[in-house]
Symmetry: C2
Subunit: 257 residues, 2 copies
Amino acid sequence: MKTETVNDEKKTIKMKNYLQHISLDCVVFGFHSNQLKVLLLRMKNTGTWALPGGFVCEDESIEVAANRVLKERTGLDEIFLHQFNVFSDPQRSKHNPAVSDLILSGQTYPEKSWFDKRFISVGFYALVEFSQVEPQPDAFSDICEWINLENIGNLMLDHNHILQKALETLRMQLTFQPIGYNLLPEKFTLSELRKLYETILGKELDRRNFQRKILAYDILTRLEEVRLGVAHKAPVLYKFNLENYKRALDEGLQGRW
Amino acid sequence: MKTETVNDEKKTIKMKNYLQHISLDCVVFGFHSNQLKVLLLRMKNTGTWALPGGFVCEDESIEVAANRVLKERTGLDEIFLHQFNVFSDPQRSKHNPAVSDLILSGQTYPEKSWFDKRFISVGFYALVEFSQVEPQPDAFSDICEWINLENIGNLMLDHNHILQKALETLRMQLTFQPIGYNLLPEKFTLSELRKLYETILGKELDRRNFQRKILAYDILTRLEEVRLGVAHKAPVLYKFNLENYKRALDEGLQGRW
């Protein structure tokens, strides 16, 4: 463990008591205007984009560390984070450029070697309400912002791989758990819900099949209201049946065996 | 990283180049005679039972390390391991007795402090064919054997918690992925398959509901054979349709959205 301070023109980060070799990276998905966005940071020295991440203090569990990091980046207190995979390729921290170059270049920093160690990173993903987030860069970055999934280029280290794996996990999760609460407004049409699924899956879904399947899971309540102000026949509004929704989160969409 | 050797009456383990702070623990489930068993080790010095586990060498990914550990404990080369959770409670390594007491008591070992460090442990679980395993204790244990799930008492450190979490993950997996290949004989009856599910879930299932649900997933091929030598009407045999089984592993039992 190291007790160090990185001085930065804007902020001071205490590098105290971080566990060696261990980091965490967060893939934060946001949904807005039928687009899936990911929260990214632009590193000051190289302009490289990266996932928000951090290290684990001596007295923190990795979940506490991840929530601390995300609170700093988003302002949100209670993000529902899923730990989804550990990234431990021995070469992952040795990609070109090395982490120490990315985050410390141009600075004289006695603990460069700390960043050059091999790091095993625990990946988390979260789905958040786009509008509630106030993105904040960290000491090593100058921009923190939402980037549309389809516009994301080369990321730092193995962060493209981490993002891809998070997306695969989220897509698999769609097959057995409900999604949408906190991402959609309280009342929504089936077509709006389908667009959320289509955006996450990256493909179009058959309208009728989707409707039949999603209604069969019994997680929606049909309201006696319609969406006004649309061009065609006004579509019926739904909201989630939270009791059933939560049960489906626990037991799976199929229910227990 | 440490380069050390633990001398033991039976074996020599080279403690070289392990990453500090990081360990792995494996929950290996085996199915036999309608019972779910877990592979456990009995520690030499204290008689405490523990999950098989180990550390990560400098040049290993955590998956390679887990496969190495399990090959040593089971003789099996290609165990399908699922990484399921990271256990990182800061107090988890400080349970009474400390790891160093458990595995080193009675020995003068200069690197006791290495074992007394806080370890973040990556949990893996596996389902293996019971009959193929030849359990082998490690240098710190005198027994490695299958224990029936319902007979497992207090385990070392937080290993009961790790086991419980693995079981919950396996039960959730049953709701969206097929299971049974490599655990059942090639040909089996629906009742034998149901017993596997009942064993994992720890509860009885309704025969007809199970039959209806499992057949609807289209992962089974009905054979033109029956199980002979049983008391009642000879039941029809099935085998897995491996193409559909593998697709259901990838896409979920519901199929894609």
